[in-house]
Every structure is written in structure tokens, then in C-alpha cells.
């Protein structure tokens, strides 16, 4: 069973903004306690612009810890100039549970493919167990 060590409440912030604009916002959110970001390309229609106009736009999804949500919302609001661009919008809602999302700890210089394949070669800064995990993941991929 999962417990609170594995899961915690969070907030999901979604922002619909101009095509190609999501990437620069993600880069500026790097130090803002973000748990996860995801970008989709969508088509968007807005009655305020034109009746049948569909526009290709970015959908940026950000999962953030509740105590930082309002700050991140305001930050994205300002970075994306939501209030200035027709068709742009954003919203925030609760997410009851999210799991931890951690990347494997890897040495800066990378891991040699030989080490992953064999699972035996020692890599500085990595335990054999971590190497085995990477090996399983690479086989699944």
C-alpha cells in the first residue's frame, strides 16, 4: 500500500498559450519547486477572436506543491502575458495525490553503455543496485 511517504497532495496549473511559448516558461520555472511539467500541442478556438478560427497553441501543465502554487500561478500569469493575448487562458485545481518523481542519480559525465549492458562495471558515484535499475529500464525501453 502507498502511504504519505510515497504520495502527497499537489496543485495542477494548466496554461494555454501561444505556440512555442511554453519552453521558455518551463526554463524560467527551473528554481520554483516544480514537481513536473508537461507540454502538449493543442488546437484552440476562442469566441472572442473569430467564429471559426482554430489556432495551434501550447498547453503547459505544471504540478507544484500546494504552498508554492499561488506564487507559480502568478509567475506563469505574468510570463505568459495571459491578460494581453486573446485566446490565452490558465487555471489551477487540486490534485489529491501525486507520487514522487525522481530521476536516477547519474554522474555528470554520463554512464558508459558497456556498464549498463553488463551491469558489472563499476561507475564512480553509482551503486551496483542503481546500475541494475538502469539496466532494467534500458531493456524495457
Amino acid at each position: 500500500m502507498l502511504n504519505q511517504d510515497h504520495c502527497r497532495p499537489a496543485k495542477l496549473i494548466v496554461c494555454i498559450l501561444g505556440r512555442g511559448a511554453a519552453q521558455s516558461i518551463v526554463e524560467q520555472l527551473f528554481d520554483e519547486n516544480i514537481l513536473l511539467t508537461e507540454t502538449l500541442v493543442i488546437r484552440n478556438q476562442n469566441a472572442l477572436v473569430a467564429e471559426e478560427a482554430w489556432q495551434e497553441m501550447d498547453m503547459l501543465k505544471v504540478i507544484v506543491e500546494p504552498q508554492f502554487a499561488d506564487h507559480v500561478f502568478e509567475l506563469i500569469y505574468n510570463l505568459s502575458a495571459i491578460e494581453l493575448e486573446e485566446g490565452h487562458y490558465m487555471y489551477q485545481h487540486n490534485v489529491p495525490w501525486v507520487t514522487h518523481f525522481e530521476l536516477p542519480k547519474l554522474p555528470k559525465e554520463g554512464v558508459p553503455i558497456k556498464a549498463i549492458e553488463s551491469g558489472k562495471v563499476e561507475v564512480e558515484g553509482m551503486t551496483l543496485e542503481q546500475l541494475q535499475t538502469l539496466r532494467i529500464r534500458s531493456k524495457k525501453g
Binding site: 500541442v41 493543442i42 489551477q92
Partner: protein, 137 residues
Amino acid sequence: MSFQKEMTILTEVSLITCMVPRGQGNVVVEAARGAGAQGASIHYGRGAGVRERLGLLSITVDAEKEVVQIMVSKQQEEEVFTEMFIAGKLDTPGMGIIYVTPLEKAATYIPPHVLEKIEQRRAKSHQKLNVAEVLSE
């Protein structure tokens, strides 16, 4: 980082999400607009679940889906939801699903004339106004 700009936040808003077979998205959006929705976003997805249980009949259910998302005021929620349900024929098995997510807050572009209207009403009533309701008028 700090900003001095004033934010106009919408409260009492909901997000209606509807998954329908690819090609049906526009029909659902038109119905929602007819019921007063201001706009819509669509992206693609792949459905799973029902098809696997249908065996050979699975070819009758399109795996490719369109995911329609529409933000509406609480006031409009039920009407838009109903119209989307009917247009998407969601009472037909395998056609899709629709659900509502209550939103904590939202923000969007608000045309100057609407902002003006809000300010006028605020001055008259001295009460906090629901911006989403004014937008949907």
C-alpha cells in the same frame, strides 16, 4: 521574482473535459458554443479499455480520440455539459466520456469593454463580482 501587475482572477469556474472519437470534437465544441461556451481546446489521445473487452467488435470503436476541454462559469456548467453530452452521443456505449473538474481559480484575456462593465457594476453594487459570469453574458 516579484510583479506589480494586477491580476484578474476568475473564480466559480469549472473545466468540462470530453473524450470523443477523432473527428467528433468539432461537433461537441459547436454544441458547447451554442450553449454559451466562449472557446475550446482540443488535443488528440488514444483510447483503451473498452476496445480490449470487445474482441473482434473492437474495430467498431475508434482508438484515436479527441480530448475537448472547455472552461465555463458554474452558472453555465450544467447547460454546456448537457449539450455536449447530447451532441457527442455519449449515451451510446463506446462513444466516450465527459466529466467536470471544479477549478480553484482561472485567468484569461478579458476584453476592455467587459472590464469596464465589471468596474461599473462593482462601483454600483459595492460587492465582489463574479468575472466569469460577466464574461459569459
